[in-house]
Symmetry: C2
Subunit: 216 residues, 2 copies
Amino acid sequence: MPIAPDDALKPRKRPRQARSAATVDAIFEAAIQVLRSDGFTGLTTTRVASRAGVSVGTMYQYFPHKDALLYAVLEDYLEYVVNAIEAAVERFRHMLLAEMSDGLTLAYLDAKTRHMLGAQGLYVVAAELETDDLVADVCSRCDAAIARLLATATDARFDDIARVTHALRVLLVGTVRAVLENDVSPDALAMLRTELPVMCRAYLLAVARPTEAQAV
Amino acid sequence: MPIAPDDALKPRKRPRQARSAATVDAIFEAAIQVLRSDGFTGLTTTRVASRAGVSVGTMYQYFPHKDALLYAVLEDYLEYVVNAIEAAVERFRHMLLAEMSDGLTLAYLDAKTRHMLGAQGLYVVAAELETDDLVADVCSRCDAAIARLLATATDARFDDIARVTHALRVLLVGTVRAVLENDVSPDALAMLRTELPVMCRAYLLAVARPTEAQAV
DNA sequence: ACCTGAACACCGTTCAAGT
DNA sequence: ACCTGAACACCGTTCAAGT
């Protein structure tokens, strides 16, 4: 657990040839599979390499150490989620507060459940790996996007939009994780799909200041 | 990561003499400290033993393996939190819905922040360690307590109290964790203390069916 | 009874040797 | 250029030997 200086967690080299790119993809996919089946503790360089069909040495040509590989997997996943949020924000701007709340909530839920169903282990990766900068960056991009959304509600204004934005993101992220983490059954998902929108909507309406357009 | 059969995670023997009890306490405390400073990955049997001032062999007399030690630490912590919730439930029964919501929320927040400030690593322990039974037990005790509380609200009834209880617990646990996990600054805590009660109250009021006593 | 620490198997990482 | 796998240091766990 030495402190990672500079870009110590960055890939060692980018694949330049088709053969290499295929190798990296295989390693990447293998890492996710092993993480899912054996957990963070069970994720071994040997196991990833053998499942990817390469030798350990080859893996170390692309990732300077195990952590760099896991970091890359996490980065890729977070990028996917942020993109989903930013897309939802564009789609639901300039609507009623309740509409944009539901739109954002369901878009986030979809992104999570589609891409994440087995990648729960990534939470452990984020917790254990020096990922503060990466996470901070992703969080601020999400907050910026959500603030952009809320600012355009046609029927409400917020006194402290930064605070509300932050609280809403934490509500979304925390609740979804708390459920998916130890129960990905259809029942649990159904519960989220009905209750989470209610939570977000209720919170936003509670802290919003209605505007003249409200009575429309 | 072998499947834990039976009580494989239970302590090997209970301390019978004062000397032993002191040893176990020291090991326990050392584990928490190492977890805080070095994380889950950095938590080494050698490190825990040396910080506790005993040899590895001694540790293995009380805990059959590293996981059993971590399991015991987690169990102790969860017990503390459940007790806090159950105490709060007794204190706030038969009140207005908004009052009991705030009471429960702040009691939970207090329990978390007081005992947990450094023990964040326990989330990783719970995720990695075969703790499904333990967690399920704790969750159902919390849900039972919260349902007991909500059922006595003087101004509201719920059509599906199990669903609301579950959703409320997930909201509490998830949101608090999402904040504390990567930011235990006073600012973050202040945000939780103001916004979390609003979230819970707003959600409960949104799903509650008001009763005649409401207009009092 | 309780404690110790060398010894064994396994994992992360390197690097000389192969194609 | 890219790949391989034996070799080294370190961690979890055991157990013969100490008090």
